[in-house]
């Protein structure tokens, strides 16, 4: 137990009695330790910052894409509405009658072409 207490200062790398040891060895080690920690934290911070910026850029890019898609969907909606009108025009009985008469030569049946079904 006593020996362990004696070695405690050596093991903890903080020899209190040896002033030279403290000056010659502890400062660079601590400095490197702090530096390493700082570099690590800096790297983490920079990574986070880059990631944050990347996310923001992605958000903006997606914003542009969404906006473009919205415009496209509006365009398709317009086209669809115009096609609905066209389709309705095709169903116009007057137009169908004109097509039947002019294009296909159809006409109301003559009496001899009629068959009364009982």
């Amino acid at each position: 137990m006593r020996r362990a207490k004696e070695n405690a200062s050596i093991l903890s790398m903080k020899p209190e009695s040896d002033f030279n040891f403290q000056h010659k060895h502890s400062t660079p080690v601590r400095m490197w330790a702090w530096l390493a920690s700082a570099i690590f934290l800096g790297a983490v911070f920079v990574t986070c910052a880059v990631f944050y910026v990347w996310l923001y850029v992605q958000q903006v890019q997606n914003g542009y894409r969404l906006s473009k898609s919205y415009e496209e969907s509006e365009l398709y909606s317009t086209v669809q509405r115009k096609l609905t009108i066209e389709w309705s025009r095709f169903r116009d009985p007057q137009r169908l009658g004109e097509i039947g008469q002019n294009q296909f030569g159809l006409a109301p049946p003559r009496p001899d072409q009629k068959v009364v079904m009982r």
Binding site: S67, S73, T78, R91, D92, Q94, Q113, V115, M117
Partner: protein, 662 residues
């Protein structure tokens, strides 16, 4: 290595520089803090607004005006985005050059466009609702100061079919006439503003957490109109109006059971796609004459008189009345019949349309009772149809009736009714005496076309007893049978209960009835035994013929002949004779070759000529029709090849036809 010399740095100059440096740094930092405080705290709202104004932009999410459908779901009115051209006059550098360019694209005089461009330095419309080609060409010009805006144009794909009922909207999309006006609150779209970001180049981007709002359509309306029946009615009405060179003509077709208007039109027709930019207030553009114009109904009104008299037990169907051999003096006035009659039964008064008989019945009934029935049938009041501009008609207050007014009202003079009113009143008789208000719209629909609210007739009352309605129906059937005034109204295979009317027209200048101007009317329902359609045809001032039975009745017949099979109502007269040259066969054995075969092919078949002779020799009467049928069947056996076919292949399936394909 240089030695450290503390004294060198401990002089006063060093300290003053150091203090000054510290002061400058602290002052700088303080300035930054103060400025930051000013920007972030004191002027915070200003700069937030400024930033929002630069980045945020508002845009309008399109909200289309609701669609109008017919009863089969056919689109009658529809909104489509259409671009409009506007300009900022101050930004136009060379107006004359741009006007020349635009003139070529817009097909408008360059002078007019230049005038618009130079008239104001601010916003000015150059042309609204361009075609797609025009918008594309203008985009290619890329002229500063010229811009395109999205607007909505209303299209009516069936053009004039139902044009007066559907109505139209103005250039700003507000309903002006017809259903477009009466249902404007339901149909009009409510554009929703939404916020969006724009970058420095004004390029839009969406960074909201929610999805961008989608363009929405407002609620729609489903009408009771049927486009096919409307089209048939318009075709037949136009033929008659042109044949007799009429001033105007109207038709209303109504469902006898539900009081739903299936067709309503007035000639000349109106295409809501073609609206002049500046409408003359006196112009009758798009006016629905079937509900807004009153006319004297003439003899058609006798059925309402007879209904009242029978309902009150004042007369019976077989009672006789003396018709004065064609001339009846009442005070200083003389009432005449077209054909002189002596004693007539009540049925014959209707069948032969005796004015004198009707006048005597009206005098016997009295003004109070007769007036009550007139109002109960809906004359002198609105039918309640959801259309703007309905006229309630002209019915004099009963207390002001003189005896001659009472007598003439009995045969449809001294009273003004609309085509819709008379149709509605006939529908009361067809419906067993129960009154219902006319309906033009059946449902309010959501943007997906599903019904969210049903519209039903709220005005219901009993006008006459069922027994009375049946008696009047039987009298009206006589009108369309041999010897009656309306024989031309009966379509082949169907029974019709109707009444003709030929009313003189009051000359506005002389204030007397014109001798050469008439209103020809036929109104009735078909099939008489189980009414499905109530049809009223009114032709104003026809030339060459004037009788309702000659001018209006054929229109009734032709409309009924096409509309009834379309509605799945099969002929009910079992042994009605077909016209000459028409062959007969059993429905189950008739092949497609028979139904559509050419004349040449038919002539080659054995027995064709003899059948033709037989059919043409036999008169088209009920008694002989059975013989014609038997003879035709004898000489016209079904071909062997078609007998093996499945009967279902050639069976009629009118009721199952595809909607919209005629």
């Amino acid at each position: 290595m240089e030695r450290h010399e503390p004294r060198k740095f401990l002089n006063s100059r060093y300290w003053s520089c150091r203090v000054l440096f510290h002061f400058l740094v602290i002052a700088g930092l303080c300035a930054v803090v103060v400025k930051a405080f000013r920007l972030q705290v004191i002027e915070h709202s200003f700069w937030v607004d400024h930033a929002n104004a630069c980045l945020n932009t508002k845009f309008i999410v399109p909200a289309y005006r609701g669609t109008i459908y017919d009863r089969q779901g056919r689109v009658l009115s529809y909104s489509v985005p259409q671009r409009s051209l506007y300009a900022f006059g101050s930004k136009i550098e060379n107006p004359s050059k741009i006007a020349a360019l635009l003139s070529h694209v817009l097909n408008e005089p360059a002078g007019t466009i230049e005038k618009k461009l130079t008239s104001s330095g601010h916003f000015v419309w150059i042309k609204r609702q361009l075609t797609d080609q025009q918008a594309t060409e203008i985009e290619k010009l890329k002229t500063p100061g010229l811009n395109l805006a999205d607007e909505y144009k209303r299209f009516y794909p069936y053009r004039q079919v139902g044009g007066q009922v559907v109505g139209f909207v103005n250039i700003d999309g507000a309903g002006i006439e017809g259903v477009e006006k009466s249902f404007d609150d339901v149909l009009k779209g409510k554009p929703m503003p939404a916020n969006q970001l724009r970058d420095g180049g004004r390029k839009p981007l969406w960074i909201n957490s929610s999805a961008p709002p989608e363009p929405a359509e407002s609620c729609g309306v489903r009408l009771t109109l049927d486009t096919f029946i409307e089209y048939v009615a318009e075709c037949e009405l136009e033929k008659a109006a042109q044949k007799y060179n009429a001033r105007a003509a109207e038709v209303v077709v109504m469902d006898a059971g539900t009081f739903e208007v299936l067709a309503m039109t007035s000639w000349p027709f109106f295409d809501p796609n073609i609206i002049p930019e500046k409408k003359d207030p006196k112009d009758e553009l798009g006016r629905n004459h079937a509900i807004s114009d009153a006319f004297e109904p003439g003899s058609t009104f006798k059925v309402f008189l007879m209904s009242g008299a029978l309902d009150q037990n004042l007369v019976r169907a077989n009672d006789r009345i003396f018709c004065e051999n064609g001339s009846f003096k009442l005070a200083s006035n003389s009432i005449k019949d077209v054909h002189p009659h002596g004693w007539l039964t009540m049925q014959e008064v209707i069948k032969y349309s005796s004015n004198i008989g009707a006048a005597k019945i009206a005098l016997h009934m009295g003004s109070e009772k007769y007036s009550r029935y007139i109002h109960d049938f809906g004359f002198g009041s609105l039918t309640g149809i959801a259309l703007p501009g309905e006229f309630k008609g002209l019915v004099r207050p009963q207390k002001r009736w003189r005896p001659i007014d009472l007598a003439t009202t009995g045969f449809g003079q001294s009273i003004g009714v609309t085509t819709l009113q008379i149709t509605n009143a006939i529908a009361v008789i067809a419906n067993g005496g129960q009154y219902g208000g006319a309906i033009i719209a059946s449902d309010i629909l959501d943007s997906q076309g599903s019904s969210i609210e049903q519209i039903k007739s709220i005005q219901t009352r009993r006008v006459i007893q069922k027994r009375t309605a049946d008696e009047v129906c039987a009298m009206m059937m006589l009108v369309t049978q041999e010897g009656g005034t309306g024989v031309n109204a009966a379509p082949e295979g169907y029974t019709v209960a109707g009444k003709t009317g030929t009313a003189q027209v009051m000359d506005r200048t002389t204030k007397h009835y014109a001798s050469n101007k008439y209103t020809s009317v036929f109104t009735g329902f078909v099939p008489a035994e189980k009414p499905k359609l109530v049809i009223t045809v009114v032709v104003h001032e026809p030339q060459g013929a004037s009788y309702g039975g000659v001018v209006a009745a054929p229109v009734f017949r032709n409309i009924a002949a096409k509309a009834l099979p379309y509605l799945g109502v099969m002929p009910s007269v079992p042994n009605s004779a077909p016209g000459p040259n028409v062959r007969m066969t059993k429905a189950s054995s008739a092949g497609p070759a028979n139904a559509t075969g050419s004349n040449k092919a038919s002539a080659e078949k054995p027995g064709y000529k003899s059948a033709q002779k037989t059919a043409s020799k036999k008169p088209a009467s009920k008694k002989s029709s059975g013989a014609v049928t038997r003879d035709a069947k004898k000489v016209q056996p079904a071909p062997k090849a078609t007998r093996r076919e499945s009967p279902e292949k050639y069976s009629l399936s009118v009721g199952k036809r595809e909607a919209g394909v005629y």
